[in-house]
């Protein structure tokens, strides 16, 4: 499987679908321990990302009719995602995911990603989120999911796993970590105002992180033009 700019585009298109499908769930999670806007915010953001990608595809489609001969780098796609999310998401996840994708784009200025560059991408995203949100592991935030994903991806790459294996490890770890936020006490973000009452609920940002990384894996598995 080649992880190129087309993969990155498939990733974010799938992420948009996953967010759309989970919109109500994310909103419900955020309603329980936050301000109830996460589903709506993420949906608005990713719809805008898809619109941008569509517009870009329409542009280049008319100029260069060379299918597959794309000179795009992975980072180009991620940068579009970053700036669009920043402008359109609206809640704290706008600057958080925006910064994550921006940092990720800076280490992905290449046509193809190998396992170690996927690890680098995830690490950069995590670093962006912690820089922006100042949260650490265990505070019931999206950092819990990202951090578990980075650890798992690193381990898998070190053990010789291929691109798909690395993405799968990251996605599974993020999913598990999102569930793992349920018993935690929130000490960052809006949920922290609830104190003890924040326990027993899954963090919406950790859940949306798991969705995004799941989409990255699915895009890799499906391959170019492949149906899910």
């Amino acid at each position: 499987m080649t992880l190129d700019a087309d993969w990155a585009e498939r990733w974010v298109r799938r992420a948009a679908e996953a967010v759309e499908a989970a919109k109500d769930e994310l909103t419900e999670l955020d309603r329980q321990i936050g301000d109830g806007d996460h589903g709506e915010n993420m949906h608005r953001g990713f719809q805008a990302v898809v619109a941008r990608l569509d517009a870009a595809a329409a542009d280049t489609g008319s100029d260069t009719a060379a299918p597959g001969g794309s000179a795009r780098e992975v980072g180009d796609v991620l940068k579009t995602v970053a700036t669009t999310l920043m402008s359109t998401v609206g809640g704290a996840s706008g600057p958080l995911y925006g910064t994550a994708f921006l940092r990720a784009s800076k280490v992905s200025g290449r046509p193809l990603l190998d396992p170690s560059s996927i690890v680098a991408l995830l690490e950069a995203a995590l670093e962006g989120i912690t820089t922006r949100g100042k949260a650490t592991v265990g505070e019931k935030t999206m950092v819990d999911a990202w951090s578990a994903a980075v650890d798992a991806a690193e381990r898998t790459a070190r053990d010789g796993g291929d691109e798909v294996a690395v993405l799968r490890a990251a996605a599974e770890a993020a999913d598990k970590a999102a569930f793992g936020t349920i018993p935690l006490l929130a000490t960052k973000g809006r949920a922290s105002y609830l104190g003890e009452r924040s326990r027993g609920h899954e963090d919406p940002g950790a859940r949306s992180t798991a969705l995004l990384l799941g989409a990255a894996m699915a895009a890799a598995l499906a391959g170019p033009g492949g149906a899910a």
Binding site: D35, D37, E40, N41, R44, M86, S87, T88, V89, G90, G91, A92, S93, G94, P95, L96, G98, T99, L102, R132, G133, G189, R190
Partner: protein, 260 residues
């Protein structure tokens, strides 16, 4: 001519931002105050584009420049930003990180939203520098503690208080301190408007003035005194122009601020 420092208030809520802007502007009419409020869909939230536009517009009005002479980047004017909650703060930080041209002339002050905005506006109105306005916004957090309690030792009464902080007993050399006493005559006393008038005048005079132990250049500390009609206040000043400053402040309070 507007003040060299402009403010941008970033809030999830349009009502909140406008209300705080109105409150601050009442006490600092010459300061440019912009708001950036609401999310991309117009509801409660934060919009990157709106925040960026407000900061840029505010910066244009003060014509701040990043000094290229190696001097203190904040010695001149600029923009001070106050933000209400989580995503407002994160969004401002993201805007500042992404637009390097803002570095040095735009500062996010992590002070309390209402008190910080009022303090920053009044300080900016006195023609203060960027650093001074930021400091006043941060210092406004102290307005939640009983700053005005007489003899309250070691409070934040003096912004620059390096040493020599005498309590009400007065261990300072008497020679460079001038003291006056005055009784408040208007019924509402040192409420927002008179406090702003006094603090502005004190900033203008340049002397260090205390009223009942609190820094008279701080509108919030003056208000926190809760001084109403009949209260006797001690006005002290030190340094150059101390006598004149005491005379002026005593005169203002004695005059009742046009409210008697």
């Amino acid at each position: 001519m507007s003040a060299p420092v402009a403010l941008v208030l970033v809030s999830h809520s349009t009502y909140l931002a406008r209300g705080v802007a109105e409150l601050a502007a009442q006490m600092a009419p010459d300061v440019v105050i912009r708001t950036a409020a609401g999310g991309p869909d117009g509801g409660l939230g934060t919009s990157f584009d709106t925040v960026q536009a407000a900061i840029t517009a505010a910066l244009d009005t003060v014509g701040a420049t990043v000094p290229d002479d190696g001097g203190s980047p904040r010695a001149r004017g600029g923009v001070v930003v106050l933000a209400d909650l989580g995503s407002s703060v994160l969004t401002v930080e993201t805007v500042l990180e992404l637009d390097e041209s803002l570095a040095g002339s735009v500062v996010l002050a992590r002070g309390p939203f209402v008190e910080g905005a009022v303090a920053a506006a009044v300080t900016a109105h006195g023609g203060a520098t960027l650093d001074e306005v930021v400091a006043s916004a941060l210092d406004a957090a102290h307005s939640f503690s009983p700053a005005g309690t007489p003899g309250g030792a070691g409070g934040p009464a003096w912004a620059g208080g390096a040493g020599g902080e005498a309590d009400a007993g007065g261990e300072r050399p008497a020679s460079d301190t001038v003291t006056g006493r005055v009784t408040v005559r208007n019924p509402l006393g040192l409420h927002a408007r008179p406090a702003a008038l006094v603090s502005r005048k004190v900033a203008e005079l340049g002397a260090k003035v205390r009223v009942d132990g609190v820094d008279a250049s701080s509108v919030l500390q003056l208000m926190a005194l809760g001084a109403i009609e009949g209260r006797e206040l001690t006005v002290e000043a030190e340094g150059l122009g101390a006598a004149e400053a005491v005379r002026v402040v005593v005169g203002m309070i004695e005059g009742g601020f046009g409210e008697i």
